[in-house]
Each structure stands twice: as structure tokens, then as C-alpha cells.
Amino acid sequence: MNGYQKGTAVLGLLLLLIVVGAVVRQSRQPAVVQLVPALTGRPELCLTCHQGIEEISPAHPTDTFGCVLCHGGDGLALDKELAHAGMRGGRNPSDLAAVEESCGGSTCHSGAAEDGRDHIHRVLTSVQATYAGAIAQVNFAFGGQADAAAQFGIMAVEDSDITTATGAAALAPFRPGPDAPGPVQTFANECLTCHVSAEAINQPYFYRATGCAACHVVYENDGLYRGDDPTTPKDVPGYGRTHQLTTAIPYTQCNHCHNRGNYSLRQMAFLERDDLPGPSHLSAQEQREIDYYQPIAQFTLCEWELDCVDCHTNGEVMGNGDIHAGQKDIQYIQCRTCHGTLTEMPQLVTIEDPEHPAIYSSELNPNYSVQVGDTVIATTQGETFGWVKWDGERLLETGKVDGRLYEVPLVMGSACKQQPDQQESAYCHECHAYERAVNP
């Protein structure tokens, strides 16, 4: 062989090797999984990598919504970085900074209040997002404002349509300047972590998302993912239990913020409770009893056997669209809502309209259902407890989280010694307070 032939042979072999490399690379490309959501008609390849991920909710079927409509990003890219570039709210499109773009729109969650589509407005104006009451109290107590009226929120917020006596028109963002009293500045810097747009404390019991997902995506206390998305790590905390939205929200989810400790205004610090988890020999029921409320709290049996969402309504938790100065302006459910009084039965309503919100709400929850003709609890604010039904003789409650059936005891006809004007739960606790079986 002369020099050219040798050169040709060597280079030919080299080229062959590289071409083989290209074939190997092609053979290792993932098999593309394409989804064409009905609402967008644009193909998405997200499931190529996220094959197995849970459908976000029955109300948002994957075939209809796909991924990009809510999450954004580049649904046709199969490079992680490019595919995820421009995703709304990072991993969480419901973060309040992104929620209008991801979940909003007049036909979705920022529509008219009459259609029950004003979820985003309600959440943005709710005390869960504004933290207005706590800010007003602390700012007033330390001399930052002249009275305890709510003037400030975590974010600036306005409400042009005030429907209640306690509704405020607007809140300014709470940003105390250098002239503000020292404790107010410390409070602003250290303590404003308790609202749905704040990042969670990154440790067991506290893991949660922000925005809508703060409540509707359930996090385990250890913050570990237990679903089937192959790309989500199973051993790194800080992920929801599964990629699912739910209205069957267990008390543990509420407790990622509530009942986890106390703010000390003297130290301007959050003091975590230190009694968790309870002794390991306790039963699940006993653990729940310890876990539910802080040791100092006074509560009745139903208040820890049931879940928070069995009593606290959509309107109470997500707000009613008005800006309020604190939770006292928005919480209205009392023991009597379900138990009635000595002289009155609980207020009941029979569902006749097939479009009734009680029916729609029941379709979002896997554990109970409401049909036309059902007689259910109605509240003073016009909400319904579709999971508490009157069967003609008894009042039966189906647990929204676990589906368990309870008979609701009625005050009427009992030996209760309540006074007609003493209906708040504090009065009920005087007799019905529950003693912890185990006090660690």
C-alpha cells in the first residue's frame, strides 16, 4: 500500500467508527411519547421522560390539558434544560407569582364570582395570602401604625367589588423602612414565612408547595415523592406525595403550616413544637391525636377525628373575595352548623338544580357524592356541606379525606345545657373538651 491508500484506510476506519458512534447514539434516544392535548392541539413530548407521572386531577385530564397549558416550557424539546426553560413558577405553576398565567383565564380560575371561577382573586385577597391581620396586629403593637386596622399585606392587593361589611378596598405591600420600629423590621425580615406564597421551611413536617398547591398538593411529613414519575427523585425531600391536586386534603397538609409551633413576639422567632413525633409505641390513632393540635390547645373529639376540611369550608379557607383584616372576619362555621341547637335543627337544603355547586364539588372529591334530591347541610353564608346528608332520620357525615361514615349527634333533644346566645365553640369546649389519652 502506498501512503494515500494507508491514509484512506485509516481515515475510512475512523469515519466508520464515528458513524457507528452515531448509530449508537441514535439507538439510545428515548422512544418518543407524544401527546396532543385536545385544548391546544399542539403535540407535546413531555411524557417521553415523565412517563408514569400521575394525572394532575380528574378535572384536568391529561388528554385534554396536556402539560404545557399549565406548566409552560418547551413541550417539543427533549433536552432537560431547553424543555424546562420558561416553565411557569418553576416546578409549581400555581405559585402566586405565576398563577394568573398558569391557572387564570376567564374560563378557568380567574373568571366571574357568579360562575364560581374567581378562585385566584379569592386566594390573592384571602388572609392566607395577605397575612393582613398578623401584620396589622404586630405593626400596631410595636408602634408602626396608629390602630390595628389592616393596611398592609404580603403583596399589594386591591378589591373593587366589596361584598361584606369587613371588606377592605386595598392593602399596600408591607415593607417597613429604616425608620420603622426595630421589632417591626425584625418581624418583617424574620416572620413573614406563614402565607401561601412563602417558601416552606425545608424540614420534615413543614414541606409544602406555594400557591394553590400549598393546600391542594398533598405533601408527606417527610417531603418525599411516592409517585411514578421516573424523573422525580424518591429520596430527596421537598416534593409532593404525588403529582396530584385534590380536595380531599388531610389535616396533615393543613398542619404543614398550622399547629406546628408558635411565634414568639418577644424573641421575634418561630418556636417549633418539640413533641413530634410522639413515642413510637403509640397507635396511629394516638399519634394523630398528638399530632393534630399543639399540647396547649383545647379541642373536642370531632375536631381531631375528622379532618380540617370536614368543617372549614372553601369560603373560609380560600376567602370570599374580600380583603379581610384577619381570620375572625372570615371564619364562620360553628359547632351548631352541623349539630344545631336545643331549639333548632341544623339548616338543611335539598339539592334540586343539577348544576348546584354541591354536586360539582362532590365530583372533585373521590370520597362522597351528591345527587339531585339529596338533603345536605347549608351554612349561614350559603355554602353547602354536601358530605353531611340528612337521610330523613339521621344526619350522616362522610369524611372528605377518608370516606368514613359518622353519625352527627344533634343537640336538639340532648341533655346539653347551652344558653341560646352561647354558641361559639369556646362554650362547647367547656363541657366537651377532649383530654388527650396520651400526653407525651
Binding site: Y4, T8, L11, L14, I18, V19, A22, Q34, L76, L82
Partner: protein, 349 residues
């Protein structure tokens, strides 16, 4: 001896041995031709999948990159062949200047070569725009706005280029047609003419023969068979480089332009493709008329007129850095350093 084959027939029967050495031409002209042919092959294959509409362009690029079998390889080959083509063309120009090969009678071919380089730049730019993502959309906006700065005719040029008073859904078709036909066909024709002129101008630039009765020896020559063999080895090597680059380094891609957000969605970061970063660096410092039009046109004019102004002598043809071409060499080195410096400045800003 076997009759010469087709490829051998494309060459003169013999060529001077000294100038046929790799270390004289570095094979840059031949490599440029080969890379352009590769671009046509890969480009035609890409045309089977690419959809030149504002709505689907970015999607079809993703289909090519992620879904079509070996689509990634095809796009990478097209990208790297274009990058290498600009490099080999630019180095070809430098070789011609530094070896005095632009001198008469090769002055016209110098112009053809320069036109090929400019068209290759425009081809690369139009190809870059066809990605239709936030990066290239930024470049499109900046690039076409430069055209607007052109005295008197700017608005008309702009309308012709983007297909209307503003960048719109028509623009992608305009760029697609320029890229696949309007620019590439002229390049192909000019390449043929360029090669023809090499032959017509007396073959590859070489030192003039001094044949006297005292020294009748002619400089040694090699046969075209040997030349074609050398070219074959060089092409194989180049192909290996091209495939290796394509295997290990992906052509860039950015987030698609949100059709609803329009131009505001364009990336505010580096917008120009790498070969125009030097113009972008100028744009940051000078008025757009100067940075975008007058200076680039000036550079082109200096280069074009080089054999008629800076060095009109025939002396020193095919001699590296001959003193006769000193001014031409200095000016081209200065321009090269300037362009590289501005590019680095923009890259590391």
C-alpha cells in the same frame, strides 16, 4: 495507464508540485467546496421535514432534533458544515492574501471569492433565522433593523427582506426562500465560475517560470491522479471531523418564540450569530448606520479593491509574505485582529 476518471478530469493534467503541497493551499478552497456540497445534501434532507411557517418552524426544528431518526445528526452536520465553511472560506482568503495569489491576472477571481464569502455569511445568517426561536428572533430583529438604516433605500430594502412593513408570518417564508434558493443557487454557480477562473487564469497561483538556456530544468509537477488522491484523503479527514463534531456537539437551540408575545419575546442576551458578533460589538458603541452598514461595507470595499490599490504588482505571486504585498498583508492582518477582538469582546461581555 488507466484513462483519467471523472474527478481526475476536473483537474488539469499536471500541476506544479510546490503549489500542490498541502502546506501551500491547506486545501482550503477544496474543503470549502466539499463543505458547501455537504450543506446542499443535508439541507435538502432537512427541507423534507422543516415547515417554513411562523407557527410551525420551531416545532419542525424540534421534530428534526428529537423525533426524526438521525434528524439530530442531520441538523448537527448541517450546522457544523456551515461553521466550518465560514472558517475555511475565511482562512482561504487569508491564504490568498498572504501568498500573494490575488495579484494579476487573478484579480477578478479575487472578487468572485470575496462575493462567495459574503454570500456564505448571508446564507449562514438566513439559516440561523430559520430556527425561529428567541435567540434568532432577536438577531432577525436587530439584523433587519440595520437594513432599515440604509440611506434612502433602507425602508424599501427592509420591506423586501421581511415581506411587509414589519416582521410577520411572511418573513419566515422570505428567509426560507432566500436560504434554499435565492442565495444558495448563486453560490453554487459562483463556485463553478470561481473554479473555472482558476484554470483560465493559468492554474493555481504559482511562481513564474524562469527558463533560460543555462537552467533548462522546469519545476517539478505532479499528476492529477496524485492530486485527486490527496484530495480524497483530505475530504475523508474533513468528513471525519464533521461527523465527530456532529456526534459530540449539538447545534444550538433556544426556546421557541411565543407567537402571541411576538418580538418582545426575543432574547435580550446575545442575539447575533457568532460570525456577526463583531458587528454587534460595533452596534453597542456606534450609531447603527456606522456599525451596521458603513463599517462592514468599508471592510468589504477595502478587501475588494485590495489588488487595485494596496498592491498592484505582479511580483511575489505564490510567495509567502512577499515584501511587495506588505501593505495588503498589514491591512488584512489588522482587519482580522479587529474582527477577532470585537468578537471576543462581545463573547465575554
Amino acid at each position: 495507464m488507466a484513462r483519467p476518471n471523472f474527478f481526475e478530469h476536473l483537474h488539469p493534467p499536471t500541476i506544479p508540485a510546490r503549489e500542490a503541497r498541502f502546506t501551500y493551499t491547506f486545501g482550503l478552497g477544496g474543503m470549502s467546496l466539499f463543505l458547501f456540497l455537504s450543506l446542499i445534501v443535508t439541507g435538502v434532507l432537512l427541507m423534507f421535514v422543516y415547515v417554513p411557517t411562523a407557527v410551525s418552524a420551531a416545532d419542525s426544528i424540534r421534530t428534526i432534533t428529537y423525533v426524526a431518526p438521525f434528524g439530530w445528526l442531520l441538523r448537527n452536520l448541517h450546522y457544523w458544515a456551515a461553521v466550518l465553511l465560514l472558517l475555511t472560506s475565511a482562512f482561504h482568503l487569508l491564504r490568498v492574501v498572504f501568498s500573494g495569489s490575488y495579484k494579476p491576472p487573478r484579480r477578478f477571481n479575487w472578487l468572485l471569492g470575496l462575493a462567495l464569502l459574503l454570500l456564505s455569511l448571508l446564507l449562514s445568517f438566513s439559516g440561523y433565522v430559520l430556527r425561529w426561536d428567541v435567540d434568532t428572533f432577536g438577531a432577525l430583529t436587530v439584523g433587519t433593523n440595520i437594513v432599515r438604516q440604509f440611506p434612502l433605500l433602507g425602508g424599501w430594502f427592509y420591506g423586501l427582506l421581511v415581506g411587509g412593513p414589519d416582521i410577520s408570518v411572511v418573513t419566515v417564508v422570505r428567509f426560507y426562500t432566500w436560504h434554499t434558493l435565492g442565495l444558495s443557487v448563486p453560490v453554487l454557480l459562483l463556485m463553478g465560475w470561481h473554479a473555472f477562473r482558476v484554470r483560465r487564469d493559468g492554474g493555481i497561483s504559482h511562481q513564474s517560470l524562469v527558463v533560460s538556456p543555462q537552467s533548462p530544468a522546469r519545476p517539478p509537477r505532479i499528476s492529477r491522479r496524485e492530486l485527486v488522491q490527496r484530495e480524497g484523503v483530505a475530504m475523508l479527514a474533513l468528513l471525519s471531523v464533521l461527523f465527530a463534531l456532529s456526534l459530540f456537539f449539538n447545534a444550538p437551540l433556544a426556546a421557541p418564540v411565543d407567537p402571541l408575545a411576538g418580538p418582545s419575546a426575543a432574547s435580550t442576551d446575545i442575539a447575533a450569530p457568532w460570525f456577526f458578533l463583531w458587528i454587534q460589538a460595533l452596534l453597542r458603541r456606534l450609531p447603527p448606520l456606522w456599525a451596521g452598514i458603513l463599517i462592514p461595507l468599508g471592510v468589504t470595499a477595502v478587501l475588494a479593491l485590495l489588488p487595485w490599490t494596496l498592491d498592484r504588482k505582479t511580483e511575489g505571486t505564490a510567495v509567502w509574505f512577499h515584501p511587495a504585498g506588505r501593505w495588503a498583508q498589514v491591512v488584512v492582518i489588522a482587519l482580522t485582529i479587529g474582527i477577532i477582538a470585537l468578537t471576543l469582546l462581545e463573547l465575554w461581555r
